[in-house]
């Protein structure tokens, strides 16, 4: 116990040196915490956006539909399947859609699109389409035949709110059915999504296709009761695949990481990035500690020699130097973590990157980043700091016990 006290006091004997090393530790750790929070937020916002607004946790299709998005490959026994989903404790919400390829035309131009016939209420509970509207209203209005188009598509077609557009969709027999729609809302998600997706009411889609709901639902997207990053997603997916196959033998249930492996990689990559970044900085910091401890030990050659000659064991000297290094690192690390944390709290309202990266939204990122704290990362970094401190202290500590008292005194 006395060694602990001695070590702590030793740190503060040379204040200049200790404060210098503390400052570099604090800067290193706090920036690591802050930037990790920012980078991860940047990546996660992109992943979350895609999952919340586009992919959802899990999707269900007829497996033939995936290769050839033909309306005739619809999901069989849809009512039974929906009944099952409704009563499943794992599933929070779902949306059954008619997904179909089509052509949208305005007076100025035409464009190929993927048209979704959605149940307005179901869909608004599942995806963020309602919140992505930048102009106009959601599909809940009666009276007109509304369509929601993306910002990019509205520019390509040169249409605005209340513009008339004609949507042609490919029916099961390969012919095209046309319907007139009013642009009722314009949404802004991500350029590619915006240019290729349109949403209409399911009832309007059924009228257009002259078919029934039972034979035309081609996609069910759903959200589970866990977070998308949770590994239970795979368990739920497997369970659904097993259960639902009895209603439709061609059914295929896929989780988001299977639907978009690229997104999954982005997600993994975001975690890795922060770690690499933190390591680079920590190496710099720990080297500082090693340096400081080395100088400190050498400076105190006489003193250490004296301690050993009056009976302090090598082990205790070793322990003392180790403890000094650990105390130094812990103090700096803790202050750094707290400051990093505070930085994240201060910037929780969002950091606007628009001036430096105006093209980010086009590739699916947000302008505004909302850094968030990862407790996992904090624990990781604290642990790393301690391990590094121990590693950094080994060399100076070994050096210290290698002094022979006689040699030390002679100097």
């Amino acid at each position: 116990m006395i060694i602990v006290k001695v070590a702590w006091r030793n740190i503060w004997r040379n204040k200049t040196r200790s404060i210098l090393i503390l400052v570099s530790l604090v800067i290193g750790v706090s920036f690591s915490v802050f930037f990790e929070g920012m980078m991860r937020a940047l990546m996660l916002q992109r992943v979350t956006k895609s999952i919340e607004n586009d992919i959802s946790h899990i999707q269900i299709h007829n497996k033939n539909f995936l290769e050839e998005d033909d309306i005739s490959y619809s999901i069989e026994n849809i009512n039974t399947i929906e009944f099952f989903l409704e009563n499943s404790p794992d599933i929070s919400t779902y949306s059954s859609r008619i997904k179909i390829s089509g052509i949208i035309s305005s007076t100025d131009s035409s464009s190929g699109v993927v048209a979704y016939g959605i149940d307005a209420k179901q869909e608004s509970q599942l995806t963020g389409i309602k919140n992505m509207l930048i102009l106009g209203n959601y599909l809940d209005n009666q009276g007109v035949i509304p369509i929601l188009v993306g910002k990019k598509l509205s520019e390509n077609l040169n249409v605005k709110l209340n513009s008339r557009v004609v949507l042609g969709v490919v029916k099961a027999d390969g012919s095209v059915a046309y319907g007139a729609f009013k642009v009722y809302g314009i949404f802004n998600n991500q350029e590619l999504f915006d240019a290729t997706h349109v949403f209409i009411k399911q009832s309007d889609m059924l009228d257009l296709l002259e078919t029934t709901r039972e034979e035309s639902i081609s996609e069910i997207a759903l959200k589970t009761n866990t977070s998308y990053s949770n590994e239970n997603i795979q368990i739920i997916q497997q369970k659904l695949q097993d259960e639902l196959s009895s209603y439709d033998s061609d059914i295929i249930v896929r989780s988001w990481d299977v639907i978009s492996p690229l997104l999954k990689t982005n997600f993994d990559f975001s975690n890795l990035m922060g770690i690499i970044f933190a390591w680079v900085i920590l190496i710099g910091v720990i080297f500082g500690i090693l340096n400081t401890m080395m100088i400190s030990v050498m400076e105190r050659t006489k003193e250490i020699g004296m301690l050993m000659s009056i009976g302090m064991t090598s082990l205790n000297v070793f322990k003392m130097i180790m403890l000094e290094s650990i105390f130094l690192s812990l103090t700096g690390g803790l202050i750094g973590i707290v400051i990093g944390w505070i930085l994240i709290i201060i910037s929780a309202n969002g950091i606007n990157l628009e001036p430096i990266a105006s093209g980010m939204t086009a590739v699916g990122y947000d302008y505004i980043i909302y850094p968030e704290l990862s407790f996992n990362f904090l624990i990781n970094i604290a642990f790393t700091v301690i391990v590094m401190a121990i590693l950094a202290a080994i060399l100076p500590a070994k050096r210290a016990i290698n002094f022979s008292p006689a040699e030390a005194m002679r100097l």
């Binding site: 200049t16 040196r17 210098l20 090393i21 400052v23 570099s24 800067i27 290193g28 920036f31 930037f35 290769e67 492996p261 690229l262 999954k264 990689t265 982005n266 993994d268 990559f269 970044f277 680079v280 900085i281 190496i283 710099g284 910091v285 080297f287 500082g288 340096n291 400081t292 080395m294 100088i295 050498m298 400076e299 430096i356 990266a357 105006s358 093209g359 980010m360 086009a362 590739v363």
Partner: protein, 410 residues
């Protein structure tokens, strides 16, 4: 003056251990900054090279082609046009391409394809297309008739990927709305690195494309990719081309064609500056600590030198010289270690595993972690770290030159 330099040099090696600890910070700063730069710049350069290989340093096309890539926005390429461009300095090569969207049909299935009419030799030099052929054979000459189809597209069309024999129908419209409908023998299947391209691309020879898409207007091209010898001349060449050609044409640099990449480069540059600044700050503080400790330790020695008649400015100069030496030695060693380390990985890029490989492929890149190595990065980092090491010692040394007898030996 010489004696001061000599004293400083000797001082540096008098207490080796102390000097090494100071220099170690410098060495570490150089190594960290260089490795980080190399790791950041490697993939970016790969992206840039990749883009330039595909579209040239400068792309000349009909005005507006970049915004609306229609076959009707093509240009007939005359010898005069090429000669006009060739009058600019530094031009290495001009590669002509003719591209068009057409339907490909095997009877069983039909799908839209982006058909590239390319010069087989030029295309292979720029994008190594021949190595992407996974069945069948690459073109041997401009006069070859046949189509190379991207892997996923071929699979959709139910083309046998072992024999890859048979023929496909090309259907759609060509230049000035003429109808295009003909059968071409399948020459092979190519595996495109980007999943998007793998679903849509196909290749025929430029001569063949010109005959098919534009039988009445000869030598038609969608784009002229201009390759230059000296990258730094790109702005001058672009201005020159624009000045020489009428406003019917556009001449865009690679980063104007691929704005997304330009954005990404910018974003990574910002991240790099932030991270490297933090590295410098942390290592700089470490260096400051070492120098300060070093000075404080030698307090007695400094005071004795002063009392032996060395002027304060000479003491300052001698200590500064010492710091400069230590910076120089540190930077040199740092550069040497980095050079060996980066040199090794430059020659032996690290292969990436599944997930990261996928990301790289989506950007149309080889799945390797490439390191950048160039003399400028060494010079830049060396100068920066050296300056930091010198600037940082000014205060402790100035402080030391003020030491006096009374408060040292009391």
């Amino acid at each position: 003056m010489n004696s001061i330099v000599l004293i400083a040099w000797r001082n540096l090696w008098r207490n080796k251990r102390r000097s090494w600890t100071t220099m170690a910070s410098v060495i570490l700063a150089v190594i960290l900054a260089l490795i980080y730069y190399s790791l950041k710049q490697g993939p970016i350069n790969l992206l840039i090279d990749n883009t330039i290989n595909r579209i040239g340093h400068i792309t000349v096309a009909k005005s507006g082609y970049h915004d609306n890539q229609s076959i009707n926005s093509s240009i007939p390429v005359s010898k005069e046009l090429l000669d006009t461009i060739y009058t600019e300095n530094s031009i290495e090569n001009i590669v002509t391409k003719l591209q068009n969207y057409l339907l490909l049909s095997t009877g069983e299935r039909t799908k839209i394809s982006f058909i590239n009419g390319v010069n087989p030799t030029d295309e292979d030099n720029q994008t190594v297309l021949s190595e992407k052929v996974i069945c069948g054979a690459y073109f041997t000459s401009e006069s070859d008739i046949g189509i190379l189809i991207a892997e996923d597209l071929a699979q959709y069309l139910r083309i046998d990927r072992v024999s890859c024999e048979g023929e496909v129908v090309l259907y759609g419209s060509g230049y000035q709305g003429i109808s295009v409908a003909l059968t071409l023998p399948i020459r092979g299947i190519v595996k495109m690195p980007s999943p998007e391209e793998n679903k849509i691309s196909s290749y025929i020879t430029l001569t063949n494309a010109q005959e098919i898409f534009s039988p009445y207007v000869p030598n038609l091209a969608s784009t002229l990719s201009v390759y230059i010898e000296d990258d730094s001349q790109i702005d001058i060449v672009q201005r020159g081309i624009i000045a020489q050609l009428s406003d019917q044409y556009e001449a865009l640099k690679w980063n104007q064609v691929n704005e997304e990449l330009e954005q990404q480069i910018l974003a990574e540059q910002v991240a790099y500056i932030v991270i490297v600044s933090i590295i410098y700050l942390i290592v700089g503080l470490g260096m400051f600590g070492s120098v300060l400790m070093n000075i404080l330790e030698r307090r007695k020695e400094i005071v004795i030198m002063h009392s032996l008649g060395m002027s304060r400015s000479n003491i300052f100069a001698s200590l500064m010289a010492e710091s400069i030496f230590s910076g120089l030695v540190g930077v040199s060693i740092g550069m040497f270690i980095s050079f060996i380390f980066l040199g090794y990985f430059y020659l032996n890029p690290i292969p990436l595993s599944d997930g990261l490989a996928l990301v790289m492929e989506s950007y149309n890149l080889e799945p390797f972690l490439f390191f950048e190595l160039n003399p400028y990065m060494f010079i830049k980092e060396a100068l920066t770290v050296f300056s930091i090491s010198v600037v940082i010692s000014i205060y402790p040394i100035w402080y030391a030159s003020k030491f006096n007898y009374s408060n040292t030996f009391h």
